[in-house]
Assembly symmetry: C2
Homo-oligomer: 488 residues x 2
């Protein structure tokens, strides 16, 4: 045992029996004490180490109870024999780089390789146009939110427990149902509202609940890349239907000859073109879906930020059939790290969505649900949206004016006067990477719209400009830089 | 138009053009104005209604832009023809009950029918033994948590944005890596720690990433029902391997002749028996997994609440292979509605787990991640766990003493002196439903352990008793009631 150089520090705050236990354990795991090797008697070891016998006994007991040591009656104490030799070196070598082949992913897991993660944030650019859909964080009424969170925290210890319903906190579901009924003409009972972690989880849940591998899904083209990823990874076959200035081109949809399981649409403010699905097309889409037995997944993206006209009522409220599933999020009207969104589901699906949410992650965090219910019920949400609608309209105007002034006929602004982003096409010979790289040198960040197109080439020269979190000076300066780059 | 009885209120705060727009729109949608019907001229309608022509023009413009009306040049304004008649009644009738056959679920969705949701909470029972694993909420240092949340909220508006990494807030991942290294002998870099919404989401992500339909999963029997649901719904074939007082019976595992993709184990405190997987079996399990290329999913359930001995180090830390994926949660050591747990994953899986988390719900909420990092780093977590370890040990002792005193040989307490729940078997002729019903009448809530067994019959007479959120008086009174019931 002397060879083992057991390190015991009498001045340490760690009790000696724990130190001894740990030293012997390490010696066994690293192979310095070999499997089957006889241990000294407690008396002998105590003497050797200058410890009380009780200390050694205590350590041995622990090691015996954990199986590191074993006692053979009338023979003595030994390092356990069942310890496979191969594993005994486990704690000594550093973790070796794993061979990439040893863990095989599922079909779902393997399909994730096609998903592009957003790049990690680098140096903060001075002027960032790439965060389309990012709210103006400085304008969020953080003091009010803080007060409501504090109040919710004090309400009772029930807020610490699992919820009564995986679909969420009842008063929040009621508040959302009222809000949607009034502002979006959605027709629902609070029981049809399911609280989820942002619209992303809503999309994922619906994809899992309805799509088998090979099922066909219609996507708007161009469309929302992250939704496409979800359907793709789920194994769906994607069918692209183009959008024009009135949204999804219904003639092209009706012309499809293969059966479709689900149609994903962003009718309020088509992503990324900003087109509004016209009422006749809404009604035609509903009729087609009912006739063909197709599910419409209505992502009411950016419906809150229309600047010049009353929003067209949601598809969901225009039908009494069960064909529409409605998705909304608080990421844009509140802030993204809240991770709060909702589904409005037909009555017949309430139970299966509840089971899915329970199985997937039990519920969304409760504290925020309490605070958000108060935020809505006390009118803060509507007042914040009203303020942001004015602010974002101003910022969008500034962007459009700056683009027109500095770029003239070298830019086309695609889409309606609405929403949190603008889709633009630059008329230039430079390729997108060059433009992005040159902009970056000027401290301006840009993002290409190519990933929104099923055929990325159609997105060449097109960029998504977000300006909701940029002030007028930044927008003007950024566009000025772009003009210099595109001139060259 | 007079027949339409347009309701316009001049005293309303809603502008007249909006009222008029809404009234006409409703008339169209309800069918009172028919498709193709000619509308009166703006001049005529203004005169009829006693409004300014500008007001009527404004309403018509809105209705034209939204497609409710259409203009035929040199002819007039008409209710749009493209409105399919069938849908025009949409807003009048109440939502009719949907036919249950019209939405077909995916294989995953259909399999959810086998998942049992927890019953909605009824009248609060006086003494609730059914919440095994529920922390003592009254003891949670809510004031400290509140302070840390407030501090996190003030830190910067970056806390409102999407995170830099879907796997979580870096300082929290660092804090967890340190905590696990020190207290559980887990070997990891912070980059291997993935923040998820509780251990439930961890299980679900791993099931999706690795299991195809028909893949085989080994479950401890009895075992954790909610994990079984996840694997089942994912389409896995479940193989039951029994547990004894030293945990999973390795001989039975080694005897399996079919290839296994994944083994799910709760080695620290087997759920529900409380058995601790012995070190020799840990090493044997690791060797078997490496030899057969099987993934070990180590759910380190209840590892924090061992009362009489040092916890055995995690499986994850006993190997340098990539075969172990480690799962932990803050639901028990903090509180469940926090929805925060973590995975420790091999280096080679970091990227695919990040993609999956990004796709599934982007990230876990950020505010709590900030506060939790501080809670750990400032020592509050360890001190809270230490306090709860003492408290829960006392409560468990009280439970065991009361059971022994009042029930004597009519009860067997299964499992070790550890964890947040006890598994007991009542020796009685009464069936479980009778016992539960009679207990309920006395204000005592009980939960059967049957769902934990692959063959539910083996769980007959067995109950899971949670006592961590009950004080001594409640525990004793509850057991006294049980004794009366079982005597009868």
């Amino acid at each position: 045992m002397m060879d083992l150089a057991l390190k015991l520090e009498t001045t340490s705050t760690i009790p000696l029996h724990k130190q001894l236990y740990e030293e012997i354990r390490q010696a066994i795991l690293s192979g310095r004490l070999e499997s089957g090797q006889r241990m000294p008697s407690t008396r002998a070891l105590a003497k050797t180490l200058g410890l009380s016998r009780a200390t050694v006994l205590f350590s041995y007991d622990q090691l015996l109870s954990e199986g590191y040591l074993q006692t053979i009656p009338a023979s003595g104490t030994f390092v356990a024999c069942q310890l496979p030799d191969a594993l005994l070196q486990a704690t000594s070598p550093p973790i070796s780089p794993a061979s990439p082949s040893c863990i095989e992913l599922s079909t779902y897991g393997a399909a994730l390789a096609t998903v592009n993660l957003p790049p990690p944030p680098g140096q903060k650019p001075l002027i960032n146009f790439s965060c389309y859909g990012r709210p103006a964080f400085d304008e969020f009424p953080i003091q009010i939110w803080r007060r409501l969170l504090s109040r919710a925290r004090c309400s009772s210890t029930a807020i610490l427990d699992y919820p009564a319903d995986p679909l969420g906190y009842k008063p929040l579901r009621e508040a959302i149902a009222r809000y949607l009924t009034q502002s979006r003409a959605v027709r629902c009972e609070p029981s049809q509202v399911a609280i989820v972690n942002g619209s992303q989880q809503a999309l994922d849940l619906i994809a899992r609940l309805f799509l088998n591998r090979g099922d066909r899904v219609v996507m708007e083209d161009p469309g929302y890349t992250e939704a496409r990823y979800i359907f793709q990874v789920q194994g769906a076959e994607l069918l692209a239907v183009p959008v024009d200035r009135s949204g999804l081109v219904m003639e092209q949809l009706s012309a499809l000859t293969t059966p479709v399981k689900l149609v994903y649409v962003t009718p309020s403010h088509q992503f990324p073109t900003g087109a509004v699905l016209s009422l006749p097309r809404r009604l035609a889409l509903l009729a087609w879906a009912q006739q063909t037995g197709t599910i419409i997944l209505e992502d009411d993206y950016d419906s809150e930020f229309r600047y010049d006209e009353r929003p067209i009522p949601a598809l969901q409220g225009l039908t009494n059939s069960d064909s529409v599933i409605y998705i909304g999020t608080f990421s844009k009207v509140m802030f993204p790290s809240l991770r709060m969104g909702y589904l409005v589901i037909p009555q017949q699906l309430i139970s299966v969505v509840a089971r899915a949410k329970w199985l997937v992650d039990r519920q969304s965090p409760l504290l925020e649900q309490h605070a958000l219910a108060d935020f809505i019920n006390e009118g803060h949400l509507e007042s914040h949206i009203r303020r942001m609608r004015i602010l974002y309209a101003q910022r969008r105007r500034t962007l459009v004016q700056a683009l027109t002034q500095h770029l003239g006929n070298r830019v086309t602004i695609i889409g309606e006067n609405a929403g949190m982003n603008a889709l633009v096409k630059f008329h230039t010979d430079q390729n997108d990477e060059e433009i992005i790289a040159q902009a970056e040198q000027k401290g301006v960040e840009l993002i290409s719209a190519r990933s929104c197109y099923m055929n990325a080439e159609y997105g060449n020269g097109k960029f998504l400009l977000g300006c909701t979190d940029l002030n007028s000076e930044a927008i003007q300066e950024g566009v000025w830089h772009l003009a210099q780059i595109l001139k060259a």
